[in-house]
Assembly symmetry: D2
């Protein structure tokens, strides 16, 4: 069990911000997917520059920033607000889908883009799972 997971569990006992019905494993998976996607996109934006893939890199920078913000929002149960968290997850999912599509176009030329597209797809899926869980709670 990672330290982040341990801290999430320790926090979920201590504080009342986030609804108790939240499945911690879904949140943890989404946090990890966001972190991985931020890292993949940051590297892809830097690597892609040598190949003239300008749209891809610009989207990767957007996606890295959005994934970092979404990860942090999930890590702050004290300020939990269902409406704004839902909108944040939807924005993150939209960004990951757009970035995955763009990176996929270069997947055969660039191993970096292929791995980045995969990280984006996994993050979009994890955001979708969070959204389903939140919808079932409301």
């Amino acid at each position: 069990m990672s330290m982040t997971t341990q801290m999430m569990q320790s926090m979920s006992k201590e504080m009342a911000g986030m609804p108790a019905a939240m499945d911690m494993s879904v949140i943890q998976e989404c946090i990890e997917a966001c972190a991985a996607c931020e890292q993949a996109c940051t590297m892809c934006a830097d690597a892609g520059m040598s190949g003239g893939m300008v749209k891809c890199m610009s989207m990767c920078m957007n996606c890295a920033d959005m994934c970092n913000t979404t990860m942090r929002v999930m890590m702050r149960p004290t300020g939990f607000d269902a409406t704004s968290m839902t909108a944040t997850l939807q924005a993150c999912m939209a960004m990951c889908v757009a970035c995955a599509d763009e990176c996929m176009d270069h997947a055969e030329m660039s191993e970096t883009c292929r791995m980045c597209a995969q990280a984006c797809q996994e993050c979009a899926k994890a955001c979708d799972a969070m959204l389903s869980m939140m919808k079932s709670m409301s």
Copy 2:
């Protein structure tokens, strides 16, 4: 005219990422509102801690991160994608509305909260203006 405005105009001539129909002044206003709101929320999160306003501070941290991401997305015309920018602006607006509501509850006790609530309201309004413009283009 600020340097950011000058750079936006210089960029809008050079590159084709963002649709030409975009009103630069609406984007500039939204960028400035996001930057101001990030700063207000960062300070409010730090100041509020002495008054035990825990939900307010956590929301301010979320709002600061989201405003920074939204500002950066608007500053990257190369990777412009209408769907994900719309979702980003909606998330930023939702976060600013939630944060303004929370800060407004402490506005009489704390001048910092009152000014932060105002920055959040102005940012929500600027995001709304961006969304209207984007809708009229699609």
Copy 3:
């Protein structure tokens, strides 16, 4: 007087984190220079991609992130720590100097790079003024 300035002054009365001897106008100038430099570098990183200026863009992304972090650290008087703030300002100054040098090499070809180099130089200067003030206090 900007809202950020008003909030800084309102906070400096309320809380004891930052030493009273700090000249608020030096901090405010450095905060504004960091914010302007983050915006210039974010746009330059996006614009430069069309010209194949890969080192410049990568440095601009670094500089944007560092300026944002430095700005936020200055906006959190509650957690003020002289040693780590000094190191942060030194890192921000080093990054701005390196980025200004790189951008200056393309200043004749690109108006975006020229304005970005200027924002970096101004930010390096503002960090230097902060460092001088902090040294005089210790």
Copy 4:
């Protein structure tokens, strides 16, 4: 092997930004320590708010932002600049040491603080290893 590690290795073959003498495993460890420390500090800043640990939380917000910036700088070999990377690592180390000291004071009261202090110490150690490696190369 994590995806980030795979991407780092794939990038290190492709591009010439970072010196070949760099030991990739030292960089990877430092990237992972920064990512873990950003997550721990983000959660600690949110959790600590219920206990009135105001200095701790403000420092954790600083440390989270600095760790994220340092991680991203290491993930951008294209813009590698030894001077500014050294200053960035020094700032990150100073911030982690200060934050660990503060969190350690609350370690007996708060499990979150204890785990955060540990993440900060590990990150400071990983930055130190990076600095040693860079010094040996110059």
